[in-house]
Amino acid sequence: MISKPFDIGPKLVSAERAVSAIRAGSRIYISTGCAAPCSLLAALETMEPGPADLEFVSFLTTSALPQVEGASRTHYGHRAFFVGSEMRGLAASGQLDYVPISLEEVPRLLTSGRLPIDVALLQVSPPDARGFVSLGVSVDLAPAILRVARTAIAEVNPAMPRTHGESLVHLDRFDALVKVDAPVAEYVHPKIGEIAERVARYIASIIDDGSTLQIGLGRVPNEALRYLRDRRDLGIHSDVITDGVVDLIEAGVVSGRNKSRHRDRIVASYCLGTRRLYDLIDDNPGFEFLPIDQVCHPQEVSNQSRMVSITQAFAIDLTGQVCVDQFEGEFYGGVSTQVGFMRGAARSQDGKPIVCLSSTTDDGASRIKPLLEAGDGVGIARSDVHYVITEYGIAYLFGKSIRERALALIEVAHPRWREELLKAAKKLGYVRADQYVASQVAYSVDEERIVTLKNGSKVMVRPARASDAGALRGLFHRLSDEDVYTRFFRRVRALSYQELQTLCNVNHETDVAFLAVIGPRENEKIIGSACYFLNPTTNLAEVAFMITPEFQGAGLGTALQACLQEYAMSRNVRGFVFEILPRNTSMLRLAARAQGTVTTSRDEEGVHVTALFSDTGSSRSPLPDSQDVQARQLAA
């Protein structure tokens, strides 16, 4: 049994001595984020004269470069796979070369010799008794770098956590070691505002129990973690983990029990966080830190079921092209691992690739654009985009036509840009000339209800959107001729596009429509429709329903009516008016159950039922005993 500390003495030198052997013209890799070897870099920066023509290669730096008056200052050139705030300022001085590349491709770039690395500068933990140091908080590219770099120099820092996975490297691999005794750099995401919080809530609303998450670097995806504390058995398979993960673990939300691979373990490639996170991962076999190409390869990602990948974007055009690394001419961020995770999550069973963005920039311009402009780089192809989430709701684009995409994206754009976007979409031929968007408010996740019907099936009742027209047509064609006749009081072979829009593209103020849907959000089937149209003169609303035959008699009409009524009462609508054909007995029964004072009259045209709501405020109308309305507010 080996128990003596491993002797690192023979290779131990000062930082100045370690970097003195670096030759002019060398290409030098510096480890990622919080593992940046700051003393080695500082020694190189302060060398007089320093070696000429050094080029640093990095994925992401957060604390590597010397700062002068809040700006990065370096004597050397930098080749970066991600333009973070530290690198951003170097572009103007011509010291930055940004390489747009999916990060999981970088190891191949290195091992193929297309990007030779002369020197690797890393920060590692002290060795164990057998002489293995840990790459600590940043494994990511380091294993590949250590395979190709001619020279490897490491700072040995007792504060660096020893991580499990593939993070161990024997001291033999290093040519020089520098002792450092300083806290590992920390990274805290800047606070986000109210708008980003709303986006985060929408994201959280579509993450199911048992999902496996990739969080990425964006502030909004990290904020979304805060709203997942009521979930169960989440898993983590992510390029990066942050302090948000610690919160979820402490809340008992992360078990990894349902992961298809690396069950019960959190898989990451690097972390950006505080000492709290570093203490948690230190010598913790519950975390596996693996090379970036193992974590982020689309095939590996797709092996996880219910994989959720969240990417924050700068902009998106109406066809779904996503701008992630260049916005308005400036390179910022990077392709990073987004493409791999998006594709992997798309192929994962029940996976959800999510692109999120606030609907406008800080100066109010729309991030949803008719066309991306010169200087906006496409990082994610339109064919790879599934969910798009803004503070105005959730659009699902995959498999949708250009018209459907444009309409869905206009619906989640900021209301003050919707008319202009619609006009542009018409001009581009993306949507019909007679298309309109009635709603000027955010899609209300708070109005979504999960309802358990008499037959035991759970359905979601939610507000209708303009982009529901196609699925609503499907509902119409499943109705029997008799259902159609009793709904429209005439035979209708097909609903025109405009008629469909009347039933779903509503302003949610005077015209209101709810739909009952089953199936996952990305593949919903509409099984019921309920709408009301307010007569402003009487303050009474005419209501109408369509229920697909297989759900008739299951209490769906009652549930839809309850939602409509609650919504109407909260808006001080005086009551409902039902126009019913005498032979439509199920509708007569439903109308009779409306809340309030119900009066009925009959003439040649049919039965007219008026339900005047009792003065009970906006309380939910009673449901039959057989109904179990859970009223779970999904985004709460």
């Binding site: 709408c531 009301y532 005419e542 045209e605």
Partner: protein
């Protein structure tokens, strides 16, 4: 939206005494509610697809007056 107009509201099959089948269209004057419900505002008119007028005798019996032929609903 509630302008009065004439609309085809139904279509059904009738047969004469020789078993010949006819398709009859029902038209009504009326208005359409915002909910797309049709509210009739007058008597129905019936015709064949070629425009030949059909008279309604009762719910199940119709007549083509120009050729004096009685038609019945198929039960």
């Amino acid at each position: 939206m509630e302008n009065r107009r004439t609309h085809q509201v139904d279509e059904f099959k009738l047969v004469d005494d020789h078993g010949k089948e006819y398709t009859v269209f029902e038209y009504q004057e009326g208005t359409e509610k915002p909910s797309l419900k049709w509210i009739k505002a007058g008597p129905s008119q019936f015709s064949l697809s070629d425009g030949t007028a059909v008279d309604k005798l009762d719910d199940n019996t119709f007549k083509i007056p120009t050729i004096d032929r009685v038609l019945h609903r198929q039960l």
